[in-house]
């Protein structure tokens, strides 16, 4: 029964994707062509990878607000290290290590020292955003590197490299969540941390791991952005936190934790990007887009919360009937 509900959730967003896609096919002139379709996929990549980290955090019924600024920080870091003549492989490893470190700090403060996750990730968010501005000196750092450009703009077998990377990351994380002990633990901690802890799941370790992974995924996203734009902007990730949160929630992963998954997040991210692409092709000025997307996201979040509540009430009713 539970499995069926879970499947229904995801397919709901998928249907939403298709409906929105069809709507824009009719409403926006140049929407329906292969090039635009690939563009939407390519634009989704960076947000999607960042959202996977957010999905993990929300699955353990917490949140990681530092996603966006880690994205900015890694884009800037890649550009600066590359300009300093550091070999690319080292640059990428250092950037990933930075992401992991931020995640580790978040994780330890939250799960070990039992600090509030909003405040902790909020403060790491502002610290990282500030440091990104500091090391970039407030401006976009442009950089040149063939391999980096290949990561961002090159193609393997006719498909953009970023799409390959994203597909790989998604596939690995879907498998990890479905098949490994870690994935099982994440879902059980999200269901109830107390119960999970009592039944022998190492809550502190797993939660810390979730934040470390979230940091690493944000770093990957930042590296891809640096490759796509051949530069690192200290404000590039500013809207990623909100967008990632929205993508995850739209994808059916609820803030209660323990429900949802990566597939939903993929659908949610696509929905956001289809919306953005369709709105701009319909000729809606970019000033309006921010407000429109905000309203759409809010409506979707309200729907999610309300339907979740209704489901809970229905569940209770069943329990009462069974007792009778």
């Amino acid at each position: 029964m539970l499995k069926r509900i879970k499947k229904l959730d995801v397919s709901g967003v998928a249907v939403g994707d298709i409906v929105l896609f069809l709507f824009f096919c009719v409403a926006a002139e140049n929407f329906l062509n292969g090039y635009n379709f690939i563009l939407i996929l390519r634009n989704s990549c960076t947000l999607l990878v960042a959202s996977i980290g957010m999905t993990l955090a929300i699955l353990v019924s917490q949140i990681d607000l530092s996603v966006g600024s880690v994205v900015s920080m890694s884009a800037v870091m890649v550009a600066i290290l590359n300009n300093a003549g550091c070999p690319l492989i080292l640059t990428i490893l250092a950037t990933l290590a930075m992401g992991a470190l931020v995640g580790l700090i978040n994780g330890i403060l939250i799960s070990k020292f039992k600090l509030d996750f909003w405040v902790v990730t909020f403060s790491t968010m502002s610290i990282m955003a500030g440091l990104a501005l500091v090391i970039a000196d407030g401006a976009t750092v442009s950089t040149q590197n063939e391999v980096l450009d290949f990561i961002g703009n090159g193609k393997i077998l006719g498909v953009y490299t970023v799409i390959w990377i994203t597909a790989l990351v998604c596939a690995i994380m879907i498998l990890v969540l479905k098949k490994t002990k870690f994935g099982y633990n994440v879902y059980s901690i999200g269901g109830s941390a107390t119960v999970a802890g009592v039944s022998g799941v190492k809550v502190v370790k797993n939660r810390t791991m979730v934040y470390v992974l979230s940091g690493i995924f944000s770093a990957i996203s930042g590296i891809m952005i640096a490759g796509m734009t051949n530069s690192g902007s200290p404000t590039v990730g500013n809207e990623y936190t909100f967008s990632a949160m929205a993508a995850v929630v739209i994808g059916g992963t609820s803030f209660d934790g323990g429900k949802g998954g990566i597939v939903g997040t993929i659908c949610g991210t696509l929905l956001l990007k289809i919306l953005a692409s369709g709105l701009s092709l319909m000729g809606i000025p970019s000033t309006w887009q921010k407000a429109t997307i905000g309203i759409v996201i809010l409506v979707l979040i309200i729907t999610d919360v309300v339907s979740e509540k209704r489901k809970n009430i229905k569940g209770l009713r069943r329990v009462y009937q069974d007792v009778d």
Binding site: V134, F242, Q289, K290, K309
Partner: protein
């Protein structure tokens, strides 16, 4: 009795932080910081905006929520009312500003109390929408040049030595202090912060109180927006700046922890002064503005760690008393 003493110790320790910050600055930069002119400027001209915004943030945090949207609502209300103030149509201007504040406050309040969306997410979405609308309305045009009568709202001083804006802030402070500390409404607010369920079961109108908190925040945001208009002599969407972060940091360092139900608006004033003096000191020492976000982030992190330390200290003190 004990809690009263604890609150006093807590507040005094915050004042001590403020004194330390001011003393350090006065020693390092005696000639440019420790002058009557600079201190007056900081306390009476710069601090009121942060203090007013931090009041709203504190009310939200006391009720175990948060209000990210205040700064954007402030921007939007100042923008839409600017035209009327420019034409000297004060009543209409105030009505428009207040209407926007109340409107967004009600939507925040309903989302949080009735639909039960996490305060962070609800106000984050509203923030997105309000700022988006502000950019739509602005559309790259700035409104500037206001009548002298309107400008005297911040420039002039009714009582010698106290600029009007300081008087307004004091009036708001007294009002809010009485409201939160001396009325049943205030008691309700604090008990919601402690435990919402218990407050509901003991017959408090939890939903109404929560709704009213966010409406008050909207009004405070609108008021700050109008004052900003008068001070800057221009309507500019970039005034949002770092006010959200500053007000959260002010509330936290002032001694209003995220747990809710603790601290008073007096703490907020102390916290806001700490933040403002740190910012002023950084300006005087010619530290790049890029650093400021990171520093405020560190202040937030410091304040949560400080909170833990203080709690441990209080417990130790309490124990000693028991043994004696």
């Amino acid at each position: 009795m004990l809690t009263k003493k604890q609150n006093l110790i807590d507040l005094l320790s915050r004042v001590a932080i403020l004194v330390v910050v001011v003393a350090v600055l006065a020693i390092i930069k005696t000639e440019s910081f420790w002058t009557v002119e600079n201190i007056r400027q900081v306390v009476f001209q710069q601090a009121p905006y942060t203090i007013l915004m931090a009041f709203g943030m504190s009310l939200a945090i006391i009720s175990k929520g948060i209000d990210i949207s205040m700064a954007s609502v402030m921007v939007l209300s100042s923008y839409l009312s600017a035209k009327f103030f420019q034409q000297g149509n004060y009543i209409l201007g105030i009505l428009v500003a207040a209407g926007i504040g109340v409107g967004f406050g009600i939507s925040n309040g309903l989302l949080i109390s009735k639909i039960k969306i996490e305060p962070y997410i609800a106000t984050f979405s509203i923030d997105f929408i309000a700022l988006g609308l502000a950019y739509v309305v602005c559309n790259g045009k700035y409104i500037y040049g206001f009548p002298a009568g309107f400008r005297s709202l911040t420039n002039g001083s009714l009582i010698f030595g106290f600029p009007n804006i300081a008087l307004i802030t004091m009036a708001v402070f007294v009002l809010l202090y009485i409201l939160t500390r001396k009325t049943t409404y205030g008691r309700g607010l604090y008990s919601i912060g402690h435990n919402k369920e218990v407050a509901r079961l003991s017959g408090m109108k939890v939903d109404q109180i929560l709704l009213s908190v966010y409406v008050i925040n909207g009004v405070l945001a609108a008021l700050t927006g109008v004052l900003y208009l008068s001070r800057l002599n221009a309507a500019d969407p970039s005034i949002k700046g770092s006010l959200t972060m500053d007000s959260i940091a002010a509330a936290l360092i002032g001694g209003i922890p995220f747990g809710g139900g603790k601290g008073s608006v007096l703490n907020t004033v102390v916290g806001a002064l700490i933040i403002i003096f740190i910012r002023n000191g950084m300006n005087i020492m010619n530290i790049s503005t890029n650093w400021q976000s990171a520093v405020v982030g560190f202040v937030i992190l410091f304040s949560i760690l400080y909170e833990i330390l203080l709690k441990k200290l209080m417990i130790a003190l309490g124990k000693k008393k028991e043994y004696m």
